[in-house]
Symmetry: C2
Subunit: 150 residues, 2 copies
Amino acid sequence: MTGIDPKNRMGTDDRAADLRAEAFQGVRAARSRELAEDYVELIAELIHDHGEARPVDIAARLGVRVPTVTKTLDRLAREGLITRARYRSVFLTDEGRALARECRRRHEIVLRFLLSLGLDPETAERDAEGIEHHVSARTLALFAAFASKS
Amino acid sequence: MTGIDPKNRMGTDDRAADLRAEAFQGVRAARSRELAEDYVELIAELIHDHGEARPVDIAARLGVRVPTVTKTLDRLAREGLITRARYRSVFLTDEGRALARECRRRHEIVLRFLLSLGLDPETAERDAEGIEHHVSARTLALFAAFASKS
DNA sequence: GAGAATTGTTAGCACCATCTAACATATTGC
DNA sequence: GCAATATGTTAGATGGTGCTAACAATTCTC
Ligand SMILES: [Mn+2]
Ligand SMILES: [Mn+2]
Ligand SMILES: [Mn+2]
Ligand SMILES: [Mn+2]
């Protein structure tokens, strides 16, 4: 019968720590999807605007070198988001197209939200590009509601 | 004198692409700082709440294994954010403490903002943990203003 | 204070994301 | 159609972030 039961105190701490850990695990999962999301969104846009998505254009817009794009595209192909043939431009699979659509929608909601808060367009675009990957469905819904209500 | 000057068209595209590239480069830079930011913020909190920051507690709260923490702490020490001695707990340098303070402030502003939008506390905490690293000073100021005005 | 339990480190693996250099292929322009 | 240019791939390096297994040091408990 010591004053405070150390087991109990630890138990509370542990539960709090577990909650934290879950949050961080979620963030890590989101991080691991970020690059694929940016790629498919950009590929869809290039196909829409220019008729095709070429590695050189992807690289120019992402600000990385072409070999970096080649390697990442190989990964996306492995994951079933795109298809490609050597020396040819890139195509989205159905799955890739679905992801791209979802990412575009999310990107636009986040962007409109930031603009409706009064942020300048350039900063809004920059911040949206990072924030979009870390916004839950609930938060997205609130963003959309706020933006349309203002 | 061909119908549309292809050089001109390309020029416009190039400038737009450059802007995009800058945004993505900014996001990549933020990504490369994320982990260090989460670590120093958590270390400061552990020191404040428990008197010391031990790898085992850092690991429990981040949801990773202890050897992962060891390795990352080595990197943070290399970068001058923490100091440590073998088998001892972790200390922040002045630089680390300054970064931790800034991260904590930013984290709280983002969290309060999300809560003031009407998000439930658990989702707010999760989203804040990811969003915080991608919020510019301007956006942060707008978040803070919105949260206090509501 | 010795043995048990906990904590921390090291080594080694896997994967990702970036780069440069060198080479291969396609496209373009004359 | 060929030569020059542009584009794409491969190889190999660097560094980050995660893991498990094995071992070392510390701390706790009796
Ligand atoms: Mn993005
Ligand atoms: Mn985007
Ligand atoms: Mn965080
Ligand atoms: Mn945080």
